[in-house]
Symmetry: C2
Subunit: 142 residues, 2 copies
């Protein structure tokens, strides 16, 4: 797989060159919510990603240092994906997207405990979830 081509030197544009599609950030979302996931876990999310797209996106995200794949303990066929620090740093953007969606999109689950906590104290929530994921990350350096 060749490196992601950048259309310009705009940081927004270059970010979108990596994960500007309907799926990549949902993978990051799942890793934010669950800390680590197997390939199969991702296929079980409610948006029902096709397995070929999933395989491609995991590869692109890994190539770009956003996620890290590690072997699953005591299992030679499973893999475990988690966010790298670079991936954890995407969480503020993700949270802003969630807040926007919660505010403007009717079917978005307004009463989710997740969004509720974010709205109560965004800074605190961000720190907690990011620190937590980074700690998890440290613990998994082999």
């Amino acid at each position: 797989m060749k490196a992601t081509e950048m259309r310009s030197d705009c940081p927004i544009s270059s970010s979108l060159d990596i994960f500007g599609d309907r799926w990549s950030l949902l993978i990051v979302r799942d890793l934010m919510l669950y800390k680590s996931r197997t390939y199969g876990d991702f296929t079980k999310s409610s948006e029902k990603i096709a397995t070929n797209i999933l395989a491609n996106r995991l590869q692109v995200l890994e190539n770009n240092g956003i996620i890290i794949k590690a072997p699953y303990p005591d299992n030679k066929v499973k893999g475990l994906y988690r966010l790298s620090p670079k991936g954890v740093d995407l969480i503020p953007a993700l949270i802003e997207l969630a807040l926007w969606g919660g505010k403007y999109l009717a079917d978005s689950d307004e009463s989710s405990p997740f969004l509720k906590e974010v709205k109560k104290n965004k800074t605190k929530f961000l720190k907690k979830i990011m620190d937590d994921l980074l700690a998890n990350d440290e613990a998994n350096i082999d």
Copy 2:
């Protein structure tokens, strides 16, 4: 053009259903930076969007209430696009994307006065740019 279909009730997923592609948020970016743009202005941005894609994305963003198209003063052929309040509310997410890109993507222009000001005081910058765009918005109600 039919309404945007949502894959789930997740606010992140639903947001991506609308603008989860490589172009839509660049249109929002241009409207954030320049307040208003004509069709031709968008084609001149450095990422060189194809005109058929541009026409489609402008339509989708307008259908979803994120941008507003108004006639250009004293010109019957030009149109002027600007952000609606709903579109202005996307700016925090856009800024987070810009910060992430600035931090992690080599070619992203680190020394841009824009990113520099954001990093100096994010809250203040956000308030200023959003208030500014909303004021502009008020003034253009016909």
